[in-house]
Amino acid sequence: MSAKEYDVIIVGGGVTGAATVRDCALRGLSTLLIERGDICDGASGRNHGLLHSGARYAVTDREGAEECIRENRILRRIASNCVEQTEGLFISLPEDGLDYQANFIKKCREAGISAEAIDPKEALRMEPAINPNIIGAVKVPDASVDPFRLVDAHILDAQRHGADILKFTAVTELVKEGGRVVGVKTSKGDIIRAREVVLAAGIWTAGLAQAAGVKIGMMPSKGALIIYGHRVAKMVINRCRKPANADILVPGDVVSVLGTTSDKVPVETCDDMHATPEEVNLLMREGEQLVPCLAQTRIIRAYAGVRPLVVADPAGDGRNVSRGIVLLDHETRDGIPGLITITGGKLTTARLMAEMATDLICEKLGSSARCETANKPLPGSEGRVPRFKDPFNMRAAIGRHGTEVSRMDFVKGGEILCECEHVTRAEIAYAVKQFGVRNISDLRRHTRIGMGTCQGSYCIQKVAEALAEELGDSSRAGEFVREYLQERWKGMTPVLWGDTLREAEYMHKVYKNEI
């Protein structure tokens, strides 16, 4: 591989990197994406799964809001199988007053976001679970997006357009020749050359850049979230007030996700992100204000991700941060040609970030290819889903994978292995083939296996056997089970009481062979 020189190397397999590798590939550039872990392993897989309408930013960040609504409309079209068109409500509680709402509606409309005030009674009819004390509600075009499927779809499309994806391989340093970045050195000891190197590694970008002599002031901001066992509302529920903790509840597939918090954390902690009991308490307390029945709804797990916020002035005190898109041309900024950073932004605006980065890459490489990502549907959203004679077992799979189900063998693999999330054997075979999964944690990201209410208590042994068989080494099933349970345990620890504790005890006994 080291003999080949790529046009572009992208470092980081989150949504930004995935969108960028797709854009580059569609524009005919020879591209390699390097990811130290699995695709969607970092912040891209640890968020709300909210496709912002931009309404949340309308009051404070007009530009961000406009980007969101534009990208929101594009993703509904090109990633129809990843997006569920739930729509969203911004509700006002008595303590919020209605002044904010009036300004909110005005600002939304200025940014081009439809915002329709709804009578509180009508809002309660639409969403009976929300706080009955609401004094106002506004309907906006928020939606739910499956971040794992979205990132997978970008990766698949990139590969199908000739890009290479190198996973489980870290970039240890940027290789410089005569002041120019000419490639990367990997954890496997290879040096891979490219005409442009793009850093898209979220919060981990700063460290890589620094080693190459570039200072990017990044401020990791931790956000914790809780997953509840089922859907309590059909729409995205937001609080209509100045953005604060725990004021968004998103219906994600068959669960509800409540978040988030926002706390500055040291960079060193970013590799081991988990929610703390204090964060969980805070989320629960605030979440009950939004939807009171959350107090009685079973929590499955809690998790945390880290936002790659960029400090505009590295010398400053960190207050002057931007949540917007940051594209850095290190040739003009720092006098280091061959290196570009794309960071900041949001899950919703990743496609736009990729477009901006790829425009710059093309300019550097002298290519005149134009961006097509806004018009070409992603794999899974390409036309009509094939019809099945008896689709019941596959219905959830069809919902997740859209047209990609035509690549799955339901005749052989129609059996449902994960009962909570209705994941079929065929999807395991597909994930092994398409995404090179190594273990059940990888499999989870590409299939939702074990993400449901039982957290693997019932299915993991079956899944482990199936995976080992697909990988051609049946002796590894036990190792898969151990690894996965350890990982699930991490997410259950901060919420270990009541029903979750009971379930964890049960899981423990099942795997200790005590029942």
Binding site: H230, R231, V255, F392
Partner: protein
């Protein structure tokens, strides 16, 4: 059901697992949910007290309406569900109806066109309804009363069971009242997709029950399914609040056992009574946990030799078993029970459920009696 029909997804998938998806999108409703017998054995088995059966019933009501059966099968389902209407029409011409329903050509037409299985025989209609008989009974001599919810089967098909109930109550020193108004409890309506009508009838029944309870009378029944429906399915599936009267709705066997064992009432038993009986626990009886009352009551009767059978479903599940498409499943599900009955070779089977009775009589040839009938036969009038 799962054991005999691989199309049925089973209680976990049909219930809580499926519900999570139905909350996302009603398109996830699986028509195979029609195979749920509503036996509630899943709820008995669940250590976490999840109301799995209620969840499935509610899903059928909420999402299954679009699947309402059309054409002649729809007429059949409607007729099977409309116990009051069909009973009222059949009673005056009972001998003719009974004859006609047994004729081979009629059976094969019903089997072929309506989808009522040819193996089934409808319970005979009585020429004189229980209520007509009861209204001629003078209960004015008593100073203590119980109220009787007789149900459709006693009223239209089998008044003897109601008469036996009145005989026992009178012998125990209690007069009998009927509810001011009584309609079918609604179980057949619910399982055939007529929830709105079931809710209306349930509200009417509860209204009458409240009046009886306010007069200080318990509302006693002789059918485990009617009892279970009014106590548990009214609030859990139909959303009819009944907490104020629920404790006062009970099977006569429970009431009798409690009163007899505390010495509050006394019955004089015949000395020459002899009967070899096996007791079958109906599914809804097991869900209520009340089989113990019926069993212990039977054990109080001198001369009864009682064997309690292992708990197995008979398979019929009410009107479900009358449908041609279900016949095969019902017989497979019940086979273990039928085998147990045949090996124990009793004179009679006793059970608190009338549809179990039809199924057991048809499948084993052994006559089935309600515990109330046995008790009535064993006491001196």
């Amino acid at each position: 059901m799962m054991e005999v029909n691989p199309d049925y997804p089973g209680p976990k998938k049909a219930g809580p697992d499926g519900e999570r998806y139905r909350l996302k999108d009603p398109a996830f409703f699986d028509y195979a949910l029609k195979y749920c017998l509503n036996c509630k054995r899943c709820e008995v088995a669940c250590p976490s007290d999840v109301h799995i059966g209620d969840m499935i019933q509610s899903a059928r009501i909420k999402y299954g309406s679009q699947a309402k059966v059309k054409g002649l099968r729809g007429v059949r389902d409607w007729a099977l569900a409309s116990t009051d209407l069909v009973g009222s029409l059949a009673s005056p011409v009972a001998p003719v109806v009974n004859e006609v329903l047994q004729l081979k050509p009629v059976k094969s037409v019903m089997h072929g066109m309506l989808g009522v299985d040819k193996h089934r025989t409808f319970p005979e209609y009585a020429s004189k309804k229980f209520v007509s008989w009861f209204l001629k009974q003078d209960q004015s001599a008593f100073d203590k009363f119980v109220t009787y919810f007789h149900g459709c089967y006693v009223n239209y098909n089998y008044p003897k069971q109601g008469q036996d109930f009145v005989k026992i109550m009178n012998a125990a020193g209690y007069g009998v009242h009927l509810l001011e108004k009584e309609k079918c409890c609604g179980v057949a309506l619910m399982s055939n997709g007529f929830a709105a009508k079931a809710r209306k009838q349930g509200a009417l029944n509860l209204n009458s029950i409240r009046k009886a309870v306010a007069a200080g009378e318990p509302v006693l029944t002789t059918s485990s399914t009617c009892t279970f429906t009014m106590r548990d399915e009214y609030p859990d599936v139909l959303g009819l609040e009944n907490a104020d009267v629920r404790d006062n709705i009970m099977l006569a066997t429970k009431w009798l056992y409690e009163k007899l064992s505390s010495g509050e009432i006394k019955l004089k038993f015949r000395k020459d009574f002899k009967m070899k009986v096996v007791y079958h626990t109906a599914c809804h009886m097991q869900k209520m946990g009340w089989q113990l009352y019926s069993i212990e009551l039977l054990r109080m009767i001198p001369g009864v030799t009682l064997t309690v059978l292992d708990q197995n479903c008979c398979g019929i599940a009410g009107t479900f078993g009358f449908k041609k498409e279900n016949y095969g499943y019902t017989q497979k599900i019940g086979s273990k029970l039928f085998e147990d009955i045949c090996t124990s070779n009793p004179e009679y089977v006793s059970t608190d459920c009338e549809t179990c009775k039809w199924q057991i009589e048809m499948s084993t040839g052994v006559p089935v009696l309600n515990p109330i009938e046995i008790l009535a036969a064993a006491i001196e009038a």
